[in-house]
């Protein structure tokens, strides 16, 4: 049995390496949380054809010849979207050779484009996929400046090409980290930011004359300035990691100087204290739902009510900041979302409704990054769909099927193989290294 299962697992992996094809699929009988509507539909059917959702609802007919996934007693949701991650950029976080999240010794910063570092076969990608994560925003980390570079949007579909949209956003650090990267103070970080954006404007006006008559201290490399043109002209959002309320307010003022800049706040742990200003500025926030410690002087007001209070104020909030293999893994997005619901049940706290919590890791992140084709289960959307063996926010639940772009994904990873190898420790005939 064990041999059979592991052999099947290997076969599935081999299949994963080959191009998978989209089928006509009908997911029947499940509790379907479309996220387009707050209430789930019981006993509904989701029909997928040519990689798209073609029908969702009760009484929808199963097309002839469709592969049927019986979801009776199960939940069906849109694929989860990690609003912030480093998926595909590392295999083992602390093993530098496998880690392409930052480049401390590079002369470039804003110009760095993570898309060339993506590795579709990275184990964290398959592990996250098994947890129901189907898309992610991938953020470069900062090296020796406040600019991390250009992040990407990826699909977690098994295969060799996970890049969906390169140069989807520019990432910068302000606050304490930004101050450190800029030489030691927040004002220095802001000077670095303003100067770089001004240089980008100057570059945009006349690229050929960019190096003429420059102030040496204002040095921004040609490539970095060129990369920031899309930020100052508003084509690409600027994702800013800040936590402290004063830093958030400063960031919200940036469009006064650079009117076309589009902002995304990352972190914003004190965001709830200035929620109205964030809402008025129509700036979305990507954050975590479980941070409640004053672990830095910039996070003194941390509370797990942050997401709930921001949403209540009208801010578009997505869940993310899932950057490594410890407490904040992408596959634990549902745990964060579920805890946000639990928070709402405590006297004096503010949480999310189950529908809001599910939206915060699907539709909201799709909207924040302009991924109009996913985030809900509606006819016409790309078929990123997850079938869960229970309430998707509950700790006991896990995906039983993950479908990305209409393709049923493999159910194995390096971790499931390790599990199967060590399920029983019998090795009197051969070492455990033999069966697979």
């Amino acid at each position: 049995m064990k041999l059979f299962r592991t052999a099947a697992a290997v076969a599935a992996l081999l299949v994963a390496a080959a191009p998978l094809s989209a089928e006509t699929i009908a997911i029947t009988g499940g509790r379907v949380a479309t996220v387009a509507n707050p209430e789930p539909l019981d006993g509904a059917t989701v029909v997928i054809r040519d990689g798209r959702i073609v029908a969702v609802g009760k009484g929808v007919a199963v097309p002839a010849g469709a592969r049927v996934i019986d979801a009776t007693g199960k939940w069906v949701t849109p694929g989860l979207i990690a609003g912030n991650s480093m998926l595909g950029l590392y295999e083992v976080d602390a093993v530098d050779e496998t880690n392409d999240t930052e480049a401390r010794k590079s002369p470039w910063s804003a110009a760095i484009d993570v898309s060339s570092g993506l590795n579709a076969r990275a184990t964290p990608v398959s592990v996250a996929r098994l947890g129901g994560v189907t898309r992610a925003a991938v953020q470069p980390d900062t090296g020796n400046s406040i600019f991390g570079g250009q992040g990407a949007l990826i699909t977690l579909a098994a295969g060799e090409d996970i890049l969906l949209r390169p140069r989807a956003f520019q990432f910068i650090e302000l606050g304490e980290d930004g101050a450190r990267k800029a030489g030691g103070s927040r004002p220095a970080a802001w000077l670095e930011l303003r100067n770089a954006l001004q240089e980008a404007e100057r570059y945009a006006r006349n690229p050929a004359a960019y190096t003429d008559g420059r102030d040496r201290e204002a040095l921004v490399t040609r490539l970095d300035a060129a990369a920031l043109v899309s930020v100052v002209d508003g084509r690409v959002p600027l994702m800013v990691h800040v936590e402290r309320a004063s830093d958030i307010l400063n960031v919200l003022r940036l469009p006064k100087e650079f009117p076309k800049v589009r902002l995304i706040l990352l972190g914003a742990r004190e965001g709830w204290t200035v929620a109205d200003q964030i809402a008025a500025a129509k700036v979305p926030v990507i954050t975590m739902a479980l941070m409640d410690l004053p672990d830095a002087f910039e996070t003194l007001a941390s509370t797990r009510s942050n997401a709930g209070r921001l949403v209540a104020a009208g801010v578009l909030v997505g869940l993310g900041m899932t950057t490594d293999g410890t407490g904040n893994q992408p596959r634990n997005l549902p745990q964060q979302a579920g805890n946000a619901v639990a928070q709402g049940r405590l006297p004096g706290a503010v949480g999310l409704t189950p529908a809001q919590a599910l939206a915060a890791m699907t539709r909201s992140n799709a909207r924040i990054f302009g991924m109009d084709d996913v985030g809900t289960l509606e006819a016409g959307k790309a078929a990123d769909v997850v079938v869960w063996d229970g309430d998707p926010l509950e700790l006991s639940s896990a995906p039983t099927s993950v479908i990305i772009g209409g393709v049923v994904q493999p159910t194995v990873s390096r971790q499931t193989m390790l599990r199967d190898r060590y399920l029983n420790l019998q090795h009197d005939q051969l070492p455990l290294a033999y069966p697979r």
Binding site: E91, V92, D93, A94, V95, T123, P124, V127, A245, E270, T273, L290, M291, D292, L293, P294, D295, A296, F297, T299, L300, A301, S302, T303, R304, S305, D324, G325, T326, G327, Q329, R331, N332, P334, Q335, G338, N339, V341, A342, R345, L346, P347, G348, A349, L393, E394, L395, S396, S397, A398, Q415, L418, R419, Y422, L423, L425
Partner: protein, 469 residues
């Protein structure tokens, strides 16, 4: 005079059989044995006799009582079962199907030694100045104003073990505390809990010292330094054993007393079985090396911490009676955690070995119940069904065993400390949180009563002060 000396040596001998720290005073000093240094000054706060009825109880010792009742009285569990007597004047709480468990015990925390805010000035968890620093005590680094204690309390943690970090092979002594804020670390110390020695395998020590071109820079270097340190400690113990024998025989001169070496004093405590070894170790092969080393020098590892690969040698861990303290799903953040799997805890349990879910993290400690639930769910999908009342042992009785306090707390058995949590729902559900937490029978946390929610000095006057968090 002679009689006094004999009396003193008898007292010393008696003391020596029960404790090795500190060593006895010179034989000529005819006084009672020196008190333990830095004794606990913890005092339980007043509670009232309380009966909780209509609860689903996981007693922490593997039993479940549906529609159960429990009485807390004089700081202890006085009665538990399907019915308990209700003394006149007792506070009665109708649980209406809510859940009651023993308080959560985290066997691996750095609260206070790596507190919030995590500024350099507060970073006191690693005496990374030599690979063997058994002389340092984590309790001397604990900042009792760490807001992390209050967050852990809101997560149902009633006791925790605070360890030095893992930069060193011998990190120093760990201390068990009750999660009751005090003005001093001594105010928090769990009375009569054994101390521990934190040891570490693997990447951290060899990286820290290897990067300075010092030994150890390899895993073989780790073991070599470990063994030499144990060999030296054995020689130190021999000197003391010899001296103590002569004291007992009345033939010791005061100047015969060996010089106290604080590092070796800790190690001698381990060799004498009084100090428990808490050993940070990820990889299966390194845990096996460590077991062999402990056999060579005649000490016992109580618990392997992090134990990401415990599932690979669960049989060996069972045979040696060693607990594994594990995360539910941390993996891949460093090379030695690369083979972490979510089924680890369940596989260890399934092999009949002692399984513990730990945090090592100021955030994770706030929801060890959820981490246990995730670990159990992964086990279930692999065909290992573990009932909730057994799952609860991973965060209560098993860590209590690993800390040598299972006779006092860790389960809701009559006579044990009334360290109790009333949950607003199934504690293995993501939607549940502690509603009330009792420590030694006193309500130390109550979601519905701001006067029963602690706030550290650090948070006074700061943004968000008094928030529910």
């Amino acid at each position: 005079m002679m009689r006094k000396v004999i009396l003193a040596s008898l007292l010393l001998t008696a003391a020596c059989t029960t404790t090795n720290a500190p060593p006895p005073p010179p034989a000529s000093v005819a006084a009672a044995p020196a008190p333990k240094p830095f004794p606990s000054t913890y005092k339980a706060y007043p509670g009232v006799t309380t009966v909780i009825r209509g609860a689903t109880i996981y007693d922490g010792a593997g039993h479940r009582i549906d529609n159960g009742q429990i009485r807390l009285e004089n700081g202890k569990v006085a009665e538990i079962g399907t019915t308990v007597s209700v003394p006149a004047g007792a506070t009665v709480i109708e649980a209406n199907g809510r859940y009651v468990t023993p308080g959560i015990i985290d066997i691996h925390s750095h609260l206070g030694v790596y507190p919030s805010p995590g500024v350099d000035a507060n970073s006191d968890g690693n005496e990374a100045t030599a690979p063997a620093r058994p002389e340092v005590w984590s309790e001397h680094s604990i900042w009792p104003q760490d807001p992390g204690f209050t967050r852990a309390l809101a997560g149902g943690v009633t006791s925790l073990h605070i360890l030095p970090g893992s930069a060193n092979l011998f990190g120093g002594r760990g201390v068990t505390v009750k999660n009751v804020l005090g003005r001093t670390a001594q105010d928090m110390k769990f009375p009569d809990a054994p101390m521990s020695l934190k040891m570490a395998c693997g990447e951290n020590p060899k990286r820290v010292y290897g990067s300075r071109n010092q030994m150890p820079s390899t895993r073989m270097g780790n073991i070599a330094v470990d063994r030499q340190t144990w060999a030296d400690a054995t020689a130190y113990k021999r000197r003391w054993d010899d001296y103590n024998k002569r004291v007992a025989a009345g033939t010791a001169k005061p100047s015969d007393m060996p010089r106290r070496e604080l590092g070796n004093e800790t190690l001698m405590g381990v060799l004498n079985g009084e100090i428990l070894v808490q050993n940070h170790c990820y990889r299966a092969d390194e845990m096996a090396n460590t077991i062999a080393m402990s056999n060579e020098f005649g000490y016992k590892v109580t618990t392997f911490h992090h134990a990401v690969e415990a599932y690979k040698i669960a049989d060996l861990l069972k045979a040696n009676g060693i607990c594994s303290a594990m995360w539910a799903d941390w993996w891949g953040f460093k090379m030695e955690s690369y083979d972490g799997i979510r089924e680890n805890v369940a596989l260890v349990q399934n092999a009949g070995a002692c399984a513990i879910v730990h945090s090592d993290d100021a955030n994770g400690i706030q929801r060890l119940n959820q981490e246990a639930a995730k670990a159990a769910a992964a086990g279930k999908r692999a065909g290992i069904n573990i009932p909730p009342e057994v799952i609860w042992e991973w965060v209560s009785l098993n860590p209590a065993k690993g800390l040598g306090i299972a006779d006092k707390t860790g389960s809701l058995e009559v006579g044990k400390m009334a360290d109790v949590v009333l949950w607003n729902g199934d504690p293995l559900s993501v939607y549940s949180r502690p509603e009330k937490v009792w420590i030694d029978g006193a309500v130390m946390f109550d979601t519905s009563d701001p006067k029963r929610r602690p706030m550290t000095d650090f948070e006074l006057g700061q943004p968000g002060m008094g928030d529910v968090k």
